[in-house]
Subunit: 414 residues, 2 copies
């Protein structure tokens, strides 16, 4: 089935708002065998929108449209679609009553503008909107399907996930099942090279590589007429992929390094702590972004100044003087010091030069030391060179935090 | 001048990569009077790409194309454009020599594929690529201008900013000048309402509102034939806007709350520190994302567990027992404690319930207390209710960190 996506909105056209809908919809429907061949953004202009709709009906079996369903005067999507399909619209009395009782509940009057939201035609039905007033609409005519969705992401995303996808699975007679493998420390292209034989022939399940914040991710998705069959073939493929790439894969079905770390620590009842310099709190921020992190992280110290490293972490002034704040020795003392201050089983420390200033010939921007200390007295330090011509301060800080999380994860695993 | 943007790439079409180019280009060229009426994404398919190019030449004066300029076999953009314009291409010998010397320098052989990158036609010229091998191309024919740009953002963004924009300013005989006003604590719609009279009539300079991480931002842009004229009219408009909205505006030409804070502290030689609970290091992370933050932030403490609040910040166990960790009293003691531990002039503390779990009827998810303590003994605490049906843990944490930065900024200002 061939499809396309049309997103409507002057704010998208002007670039004031980024269009995330097209990518989201395309990625969602691809495993159902719906081939998206065009994304288009147009404004609220009636003429241009009508031309775009007309063209889409000529070349696609299914058209996804977003935006232009609200109550304001420039929301003309539905009228144009209905007239291009040659259908007459009427008020859906059930939807109208629901809308009326919603306005009664919030104590605001329903205006005539709102009534446009509950207009539909023959061969159509609504997708209920759990996060707004404008319902989505599905209309089929002459073998073409048009799905109109609300513009705000908070309304569109759950509608697609919870209402549209189940409908499309029925329509295409397919169910979907996906799993994710996550890699750190190996590039997407190296990963693809390792897996090229598998990826070339994998049609169902498909194996799709993504790059995500300097990590590589594989999505394995199968479609089938039965969920258990889809699951089975995904599981077999995941097994195969892990056999080939297991040493680089840090987690299956986890939401990133911080999620894998919090899960593992919770499972093992291990407590961790952090002592950050150049990352400035980013590591603890990432860890605590995971719900339930409070059970594994009791405190986190960010010691930017040398005086703070001495006072809070007990780093020796002599070490700082002899080797500098950005050194193997300081990283080691920071991690050991954090372990002593806290009640944690493992501590990770980071010290480095994030730039743009502060680099020297000996220690250029991007020089980072990471130490992981364990209660058993172990302490491993690694030196990283993360600077490149195009990496920003933010890039270097993020990468340093990922390396620190990975080092901690490896230590806890052992 | 009417324009459109065509982005080429299967990875965009499948939604594996988000299309940020269309918005970036549209936003960049709008103040030059170039009206973008369509964004299109198509894959590497020759037929569909050709149709899209043909259509764009019928309806637009200027067409921006991204992607499909590299050396790989599916990079067909240029050939299609040249043939649709009826132009014959040839090798640009100067560009070829540059490319050859680049490959000599990196010690890798130049393949035949690379030669496609330096093919151009009559009435065309290259935009040099400072971050990759594929140059951009500008070709004009029959009153139409086509600008072809490389796909990777790290190549495209600087090429647009440094090469394409100066060319377009010459083409349209305009120079641009912009300034930004930033607001926190007032919504975009409230801001628009306050400024509706100005915004309706503002054609040059234009006043465009943006929403950016729960902040409102106004971009004031003027175009003129002379830079000093553009500057002058922008400055007059900024003055007008500040007269109307100055009390909500926290900074002009700054990159967010953290940037405004670090700048102000640097200016006033003020040191700050943070004591975070539910934000988990996000506040210190945001502060240290600003280059030069080391001069104003000497340490930052993240005390998730009660034991850490007691041990590191000196919060009284009785306070925690009587009022709870999420309370006015605990926030106050955290801020005062942080001030004592550090050598800072001001401390901010945050304690709250970020969710998704942990909320109660009395203290629902989103309840956050923020305290700012000063060396003069002052300490102000505010209670916020940041929870809504659709806000995630991440949203609440981010908003809490913004409120904390704003409170600190206000305190340092006084």
């Amino acid at each position: 089935m061939n499809g396309e996506i049309i997103c409507i909105g002057t704010e998208l056209l002007l670039g004031d708002v980024l269009n995330t809908h097209s990518a989201f919809i395309a990625r969602s429907v691809a495993p159902l065998g719906i081939n998206i061949y065009y994304h288009t953004v147009v404004g609220d202009n009636e003429n241009r929108l009508r031309q775009t709709v007309k063209q889409s009906l000529e070349r696609s079996d299914i058209v996804f449209m977003t935006g232009g369903l609200g109550p304001t005067y420039d929301d003309i999507t539905k009228n144009i679609v209905y007239s291009e399909l040659g259908l007459t619209s009427f008020i859906d009395e059930v939807a109208l009553q629901k809308l009326q009782s919603y306005f009664d509940k919030i104590g605001r009057p329903m205006t005539d503008n709102n009534i446009g939201q509950v207009m539909r035609t023959e061969n159509s039905f609504f997708f209920e909107n759990d996060f707004g007033t404008a319902p989505g609409v599905c209309v089929t005519q002459n073998g073409k399907t048009i799905i109109m969705l609300p513009g705000p992401p908070r309304e569109l995303v759950p509608m697609v996930e919870n209402k549209v996808m189940p409908y499309l699975m029925k329509l295409t007679d397919r169910v979907l099942y996906s799993r994710y493998l996550r890699y750190f420390g190996i590039g997407e292209s190296a990963l693809e090279a390792m897996l090229s034989d598998i990826m070339k022939v994998s049609v169902n399940p498909t194996v799709a590589p993504y790059v995500d914040n300097y990590e590589a991710k594989l999505r394995v998705t199968a479609s089938s007429d039965k969920l258990e069959n889809a699951k089975k073939s995904v599981d077999i493929m995941v097994e195969k992929l892990l056999n080939l790439t297991g040493e680089y894969c840090y987690g299956v079905d986890v939401n990133g390094l911080e999620d894998a770390l919090v899960k593992l620590c919770t499972e093992k009842a291990v407590k961790i702590t952090t002592a950050e310099s150049c990352t400035g709190g980013l590591i603890s921020e990432r860890i605590t972004s995971v719900p339930g992190a409070s059970a594994v992280l009791d405190m986190a110290l960010c010691c930017y100044a040398n005086s703070a490293k001495i006072k809070l972490l007990g780093v020796s002034p002599l070490t700082l003087e002899l080797f500098g704040a950005v050194s193997k020795e300081t990283a080691r003392e920071m991690a050991l010091g954090a372990l002593k201050v806290s009640a944690a089983d493992f501590a990770v420390s980071v010290t480095g030069i994030a730039g743009p200033d502060g680099g020297t010939a000996e220690k250029p921007v991007g020089t980072v030391f990471i130490a992981v200390a364990g209660k058993d007295g172990s302490c491993n330090v690694q030196k990283l060179s993360l600077g490149t011509r195009t990496r920003s301060r933010g890039d270097i800080r993020f990468l340093a935090s990922s390396h620190a999380l990975k080092a901690l994860l490896d230590a806890v695993k052992e």
